[in-house]
Symmetry: C2
Subunit: 222 residues, 2 copies
Amino acid sequence: MYKVDIGKKILIANEEYARKNSRFLAKRKKLCLNMISSPGSGKTTILIRTISELKDKIKIGVIEGDIQTDIDAERIRAATSAVVQINTNGSCHLSAAQVCGALENLPTDDLDLIFIENVGNLVCPSAFELGEAGKIVVLSVAEGDDKPAKYPSIFAKSKVLLINKIDMLGAGVQVDFDVEKVKADARRLNKDIEIFPVSAKTGEGMSSWYGWLTESVGNLRL
Amino acid sequence: MYKVDIGKKILIANEEYARKNSRFLAKRKKLCLNMISSPGSGKTTILIRTISELKDKIKIGVIEGDIQTDIDAERIRAATSAVVQINTNGSCHLSAAQVCGALENLPTDDLDLIFIENVGNLVCPSAFELGEAGKIVVLSVAEGDDKPAKYPSIFAKSKVLLINKIDMLGAGVQVDFDVEKVKADARRLNKDIEIFPVSAKTGEGMSSWYGWLTESVGNLRL
């Protein structure tokens, strides 16, 4: 019982910061999306392509979460200078307090959209609200099609599922991934989830994802 | 400060169970290995092939950790009946207390080797000792070659690194994975780590891994 109460206290403290971040973003009419996936599913590559290809329409900044190193932030800096790195120093998820500090260091007024790239982890980040308008879960086809069943929380909570690396399907390698099964399993957990099969490498499928982003940013401007 | 102390108490309680498990295994001269990776790197497929191909030499049991579902345990049951499922109900890693209960439910005396398949997570499981003789980290080439640098803890602590899905290298897909870079980065963190590039699907490279397992089981019998 003791442990549960402490866990609740940590979550409550986190939620206070999350509400503060949410108010900060709402006041400025900025869209903020929290991107979550396993390590290596392609979050950074998706972000670089998205930022570059939308740069004439939407100004995008990134809060980059990593346990250590700034490898991903440096990669993203090639596409936008609006990047803030958070190193969690071992922690398995970003906290709303960390994001609060990062938001103060981004040129928020010049941006339309802020992506938070969370620590690579399909489990823990789903429990910590950061003040975002929505979560984006990324699943690479190389990870297998049983992931919505095995890690349901993040699929139940996300606005969008990006099924990445679809260039691997039907290529020279054997990948056990049934896109229709994943769509059905994800929709069983979350009937409203938007699903875009994409390849951030080849660009296949990205235009539908861009359409969703452009509409979501536009809705905030109304 | 408060949170840190609580975290320490949880770790200390875990270590007491880990020592209990370690004594239980040492007394019976059973090898126990804790397998850790991101979701979808191929732990279950590696285990199924290993159990099947070594079945005339080494009797292997499995403690299967999942957040929910028994999908993996059911897959493993095709290769061995000595499987115990632990559902963590949301928790992102196995605890030594859970493994303690599972060991009591395995036919330990009839086995030579017990694999613990941890929850798919490259971060949290590395902090929780389970009483195992060693950790095995699995990295799929689809996850990219920056993972030892970005998630150093588990590479620093593991006895073996299995680089899986090498059938994808040089196939019809573009995979950014330099095996030599990963080997060098892992050895910078852990000079004694054994590294076996394998494909659990095609069987390529598995014989070196089997050689290491057979020798490790044999050393316990001396």
